[in-house]
Symmetry: C2
Subunit: 338 residues, 2 copies
């Protein structure tokens, strides 16, 4: 396990993204307008499904990263708005396809689109949003930003395929798990942050710092998500707790619990995850084993390590209220689980 | 119905794309190498599925259009190879997602990927190929080509969603059908052809001619495909005849047969297409009604009209063996059904 690196204690109030929200409010209003425009289509089903997801109130953390990083590195144009909207569309397309792949019933506390309109429409509307995302990027006209975001698009899909291969396979180890979450989640955070300095024509250390920040934040975010699936309430998370167990996903809490648990627990994990036979009370059993083995606590510790890395990367970014707000966003992502 | 416009009779041998294949052979060898390279991934499932489709021997008509048009308009660089490979990846991604949406069992005479690896992997590997396609386009570096192909990507998905909405709906009319096939099929043919002059820095009439050729060819191609679904043998087509009937797809042969058929036939179409209750002998009944109403013959006539439009568009392109070969490709696409 990684070493516990405490987060910097710069403030006593609970962690919040309020400052980031306020500092990017004007840009996000423009992003939201672009999103509504570009999710439109003469084909009724498309805006219907897109709006269902878009209006269901995600935090829009990823496009905020793009806006904040562009601003932080001195960008004064409007191209960052199109890139931020592209990032959100890429994310939304991934959610639509993920729900089909995971056979999920809920998304952000509402019925998943696939439950309302079917798997077929979810696949195709996801494809449409991805196409629109690339069109928006092209409109911005930065080949380097296109390079970053199209690479992320391929890497995300690669991560999802990797996750599919790792599912129901108890032999999946920590290093494989880290590869999966870096690809399926952190790569988009990293790209969202990196295109900020890129659109501002900032290369070198600044660009690397933005990317490192996004990557570390994305890893922390996913680790916390995976801990919450065994800990938070469904209401908080906007999805059903225990989803990962039911779907046979091998996440870090499970990997640690198996590695450290009693040999006799193994049959339990095999039945739940490999045989996909999850019964009443199994989630409670899983959480009990995770408590006994410090699996959840150490997953959060790992998230804190990456949070500290994200803050360290910020040190190489220009000072100011936006940098502080990006620092608070790290604490916010991790505090969801504390 | 459109007027019958006979295709120019320039040769007596059966229509063939042999000349197009030979004239683009060197470039296509490079395209095939790029396809194999870019379909690679450390995640085993990705090359496995990609190679299944790629090696299953489609004609690669779309990337050949890109190579031929670039060459025809005097391009002497290597960027057309990357664009052609991108076009084929976009097409392959669409096939993977289509098979999931249509619940198809066969593709090009082989088991569909989704039957071998599951819907989940088909969705995700399609996403991966789409991401790789955009990466390749970015590498070529033409923002205009990126614009054309990303727009096509969104339009294709829009067409597929439209088709989903029109399926099982007997009220779908000819104009709606034409919108669907223009978006889902012809838009990629048009884009594949248009990026040829674009990468050669040719604008204006030449660029428009290439696009018009591709669009008309794509429409002819899809009309013939839709006729073949009620006429060709499964072996010729590489898919099951009668698929469209079983899937409740409202194609032109059906639209014409319903419009011109006896009122008492309507119950038959309602049962097959709206209620999706297709029984033994229904395909034969459908074909009999289509014969009685000239529905298949007039679908082919419509294809010939668009074929003539494609040839007309070619008149505005530079003369030479490549232009002749592109003309033969039109006849080849239509001759599949004659």
């Amino acid at each position: 396990m990684g070493v516990v690196v405490p987060l910097r204690e710069t403030r006593t109030e609970p962690a919040s993204i309020q400052n980031l929200v306020e500092l990017t409010a004007e840009g996000m209003q423009a992003v939201n307008q672009v999103i509504l425009d570009k999710a439109g289509s003469n084909v009724d089903l498309i805006p219907e499904i897109a709006n269902h997801l878009i209006s269901s109130g995600g935090k829009r953390l990823r496009p905020m990263l793009t806006l904040a990083m562009a601003d932080l590195f001195g960008y004064r144009g409007t191209g960052h708005v199109g890139l931020a909207a592209s990032v959100e569309f890429m994310h939304t397309a991934t959610l639509l396809h993920d729900d089909v792949v995971d056979e999920s019933d809920m998304r952000r506390g509402k019925l998943a689109a696939r439950k309302l309109w079917g798997n077929q429409a979810s696949v195709l509307v996801g494809d449409y949003l991805l196409g629109q995302a690339f069109k928006m990027m092209v409109d911005v006209g930065s080949l380097e930003a296109l390079n970053i975001l199209s690479s992320a698009s391929a890497v995300i899909a690669e991560g999802e395929v990797m996750q599919l291969g790792a599912a129901q396979n108890l032999a999946t180890d920590e290093s494989r798990y880290m590869q999966v979450i870096e690809a399926k989640t952190a790569a988009l955070f990293a790209a969202a942050a990196e295109v900020g300095p890129v659109v501002a024509d900032v290369e070198g250390a600044g660009r690397k710092a933005a990317r490192d920040y996004g990557m570390a934040l994305g890893l922390a975010f996913q680790l916390v998500d995976d801990a919450l699936d065994y800990g938070g309430s469904a209401a908080d998370l906007g999805k059903d707790t225990g989803d990962d167990l039911r779907e046979g996903k091998i996440t870090l809490p499970v990997i640690l619990a198996i590695k450290r648990g009693k040999p006799e627990d193994r049959a339990f994990w095999t039945r739940c995850l490999e045989e996909r036979d999850v019964r009443d009370g199994d989630l409670a059993t899983a959480i009990r084993i995770m408590d006994e083995t410090d699996a959840l606590a150490d997953t959060v510790t790992r998230a804190r390590d990456f949070g500290a890395q994200a803050l360290q990367a910020l040190d190489a970014c220009p000072e100011g209220p936006l940098r502080d707000a990006l620092g608070e966003a790290v604490e916010f992502c991790i505090a969801r689980v504390s």
